[in-house]
């Protein structure tokens, strides 16, 4: 049912064209943002997506790429927060807490390479070539490093692999991890890369996986407001905040409660407690369908409806003997009454919610018949060629139906006892309920009118009559749009706003329907490459492993590549950065 809205790209433009002179035209233009603030991140663009953030950090702090990534992972990709810490507490604090260490004057690695080194982990003497010194200055043998990395990756700690030395907070250079691990377990090295890349999605509050099943592989990034509804490029529409279906004007909490309630058997159970009594013999629930209070179950057992007790022979149609059931149980009566009232209340809201959802489904069929009518009309009438108003009206109808149907669960919780009982006085609640219901009613009436006009067999009408319907549909479209917007405003400002409860946030009303996230442009411009202040020669981060060796090992890895790897290599060719290559190599390309 979601995809009905997604068609008709040019709907608004033509709608506006036909609405010259209508007062809300200007405000509509202002309200519609020029570009969507949500982006689709695919497997291919994931790297490009994080490059912007990384580049900002690298530029400001003159850092190498993996240091920037370490910082960003630590600060959960919140660049603003990272910069705030930098300004408040300084560079040293920023680096120390994130585990970034840089030793400017490292000891001469070439002399180390030829000598023997004592590894404190395996307690063996190893040749300098078989040991690696990391940024913090600690040096251990390659075997021990590899073991350490494998254990950490398997523990799911790829994003924060620390140095092996006790109490050393430094995060290991990702290139060292990759090179050493891939020698023994290429698969695990790939996994490590993926974990690093996906940190951008999983540790970032602005980015979330699309909840589609089967998963489309995409993630969505929002630029400003987390409370919004988006459409992924796979077509799924969802609420970014709670990842369930788009449910505004319900808040996420309300929606969660509502679907649980709908799914729950609890309402059925309620009905059973109110309307039936268990048979004292077979314990099946028995419903009384009329008559006196002597009830008999299908199993043959007779019992008193008032107290549920089994009756003997003296208990006849004419006399209810041996019972004093009229004398007590005020409390249980009350409880039953309350359950009954709650059930009716729920049924009221659920029926209307359901009615609009059902109409919405029925009207989806309307779309086909309308297309037919349009094509007939187009052939018949050469004068009236533009029938976009029909499609536009239809889209407006779908959109408003959605709003209407979700407005019922909203009302159920807004004016019920569950969430806001102590937040509003009875009088306040009543005023608010009237305010809301008036708006809801108005919207409902206009939506029904719009629906009626759209069902008219306009293909059989005269030109004048068609023009009249056209005017009506256009007018009603504008009215329902305005009413929807007003309802959202009312909910946000008058109903929820006064409660000052931060937990009930609703996605803003989008006149154009749920925003389609744009594919993130895959061509990332590497404008700031030159700012990498580290010449390739002094960046041998590892004790015995020279830059050359690292490159050759990387290349050999590239040759025996899996399909996933190949995809990455192509990305490099297309002017991308490859995570597998040090920044300098990419810069040279």
């Amino acid at each position: 049912m979601d995809d009905c809205i997604s068609s008709d790209e040019d709907y608004y433009d033509s709608d506006r064209d036909s609405l010259h002179g209508l007062e809300n035209e200007d405000s509509e233009i202002q309200r519609v943002p020029k570009t969507p603030s949500t982006k689709v991140i695919t497997k291919e663009s994931l790297l490009a997506a994080q490059k912007e953030d990384m580049r900002r950090v690298m530029d400001l702090l003159s850092l190498r790429e993996y240091h920037a990534r370490t910082l960003l992972i630590h600060y959960r990709w919140d660049v603003e927060k990272l910069f705030a810490v930098l300004v408040e507490k300084g560079k040293n604090h920023l680096f120390a807490t994130a585990g970034v260490t840089m030793i400017e004057n490292r000891s001469n690695t070439s002399s180390e390479a030829s000598s023997m080194v004592m590894c404190d982990i395996c307690m063996e003497e190893v040749h300098g070539n078989d040991a690696t010194r990391v940024d913090c200055g600690h040096c251990f043998c390659n075997n021990c490093w590899t073991e350490h990395f494998i254990v950490k990756i398997n523990e799911g700690q790829s994003r924060r692999i620390r140095c092996m030395a006790h109490k050393c907070n430094a995060i290991c250079d990702e290139a060292v991890v990759r090179t050493l691990v891939s020698k023994r377990h290429p698969d695990l090295a790939n996994k490590f890369d993926r974990f690093l890349l996906e940190s951008y999605i999983e540790d970032n509050k602005r980015v979330k996986w699309c909840p589609s099943t089967p998963h489309c592989g995409n993630a969505i990034r929002v630029e400003d407001d987390e409370f919004c509804e988006v459409e992924c490029s796979c077509g799924l529409q969802f609420c970014f905040s709670c990842l369930s279906e788009a449910h505004s004007p319900c808040s996420c909490l309300m929606w969660e409660l509502w679907i649980k309630k709908c799914r729950d058997e609890s309402e059925t159970v309620n009905w059973i407690t109110v309307h039936t009594k268990p048979c004292p013999k077979c314990h099946k629930p028995v419903e009384k369908n009329g008559g006196c209070n002597l009830v008999s179950c299908i199993c043959g057992q007779a019992f008193c409806w008032l107290c549920g007790g089994a009756t003997g022979r003296e208990h006849t149609w004419s006399s209810i003997s041996g019972h004093s059931c009229g004398r007590y149980k005020e409390e249980s009566e009350q409880k039953a009454e309350r359950a009954k009232r709650d059930l009716y209340r729920y049924m009221h809201y659920h029926n209307r919610y359901k009615a609009h959802t059902d109409s919405f489904k029925l009207e989806s069929k309307l779309k086909e018949s309308i297309q037919e009518k349009i094509s007939i009309s187009e052939e018949r009438e050469s004068m009236l060629r533009d029938f976009s108003w029909v499609n536009n009206g239809l889209s407006r109808l779908f959109r408003s139906r959605r709003v209407l149907s979700y407005s019922y669960p909203f009302a159920f919780y807004m004016f019920g006892d569950e969430l806001f009982k102590d937040e509003m006085t009875e009088a306040e609640r009543e005023i608010k309920q009237h305010l809301f219901e008036d708006q809801q009613q108005q919207l409902e009436a206009n939506v029904e009118k719009l629906s009626k006009f759209l069902e008219e067999p306009f293909d059989q009408y005269t030109k004048d009559k068609v023009m009249e319907i056209r005017m009506q549909v256009i007018n009603l479209s504008v009215i329902t749009d305005t009413l929807c917007k007003k309802m959202y405003d009312c909910i946000e400002n008058d109903l929820l706003g006064s409660l000052e409860l931060g937990i009930h946030n609703i996605a803003p009303y989008k006149s154009k329907g749920i925003e389609k996230a744009l594919e993130l442009s895959a061509c990332w411009n590497s404008k700031a490459n030159t700012s990498d202040k580290y010449p390739p020669s002094d960046c041998g981060t590892s004790g015995g492993l020279s830059e050359c060796e690292r490159l050759t090992s990387l290349n050999s890895e590239e040759n025996g590549c899996s399909s996933r790897k190949r995809a990455r290599a192509e990305v490099v060719a297309g002017n991308f950065f490859d995570l597998n290559l040090p920044a300098e190599v990419v810069d040279r390309n």
Binding site: I121, M123, H148
Partner: protein
């Protein structure tokens, strides 16, 4: 796989300065994956004078994964379970580093005995007592040390010695003693019956 070469070296190192540290690590079986650590109770604490035994199991990933340690001697301490002997110590969990050794880990456990962390308790009852009524806590801890960490564990080595002199292998002697609750007569019966 456990790096047994390293474990061997660790044991040698440990034996070398046993005089200075008082910390002993001995294999429980032939496999080196199950060890027994012994630490003296720190001076001027309620644990002074006691000898505490710690059961050590090495995981497959040792030394890249932390060793599993548990008190075999009953001890009254906020961070050690009075029931199971489980130890709440960061370096035995997420703060473990492969650069640490069994000896350094046992030294940390010893340090924990002298500096309890009642705000991060393993045994809530003990921690409550430590915070609310230190005198009673110290009394109980001292009593437990007297009862469990002195006679029995000191006696244990003597018992082991005695039974070994009768011609039984050490591993078997220890396991029999452990099985019968360190009663040398019962252990002897067990050893004789096969």
């Amino acid at each position: 796989m456990i790096d047994f070469a390293r474990v061997q070296k660790e044991l040698q190192e440990c034996t070398k300065d046993i005089e200075a540290s008082g910390i002993r690590v001995t294999p429980k079986s032939d496999s080196l994956s199950h060890l027994l650590g012994t630490i003296p109770g720190p001076i001027s604490t309620p644990y002074e004078g006691g000898i505490f035994q710690i059961d050590i199991t090495l995981p497959d990933g040792y030394p890249f994964e932390p060793p599993k340690m548990q008190f075999a001697t009953k001890v009254w301490h906020p961070n050690i379970s009075s029931q199971s002997g489980a130890i709440c110590l960061d370096i035995l969990k997420d703060q473990w580093s492969p650069a640490l050794t069994l000896k350094t880990a046992l030294l940390s456990v010893q340090a924990l005995l002298s500096a309890p962390q009642p705000d991060d308790p393993q045994d809530a009852v003990v921690a409550q007592q430590y915070l609310r009524d230190y005198q009673t806590f110290a009394g109980t801890a001292r009593y437990w040390t007297e009862t469990f960490a002195k006679t029995s564990s000191l006696g244990v080595e003597e018992k082991v010695q005695k039974l070994m002199e009768m011609g039984f292998p050490e591993a078997q002697v220890r396991s029999s003693l452990e099985a019968v609750g360190w009663d040398e007569n019962l252990a002897l019966e067990k050893l004789c019956s096969g």
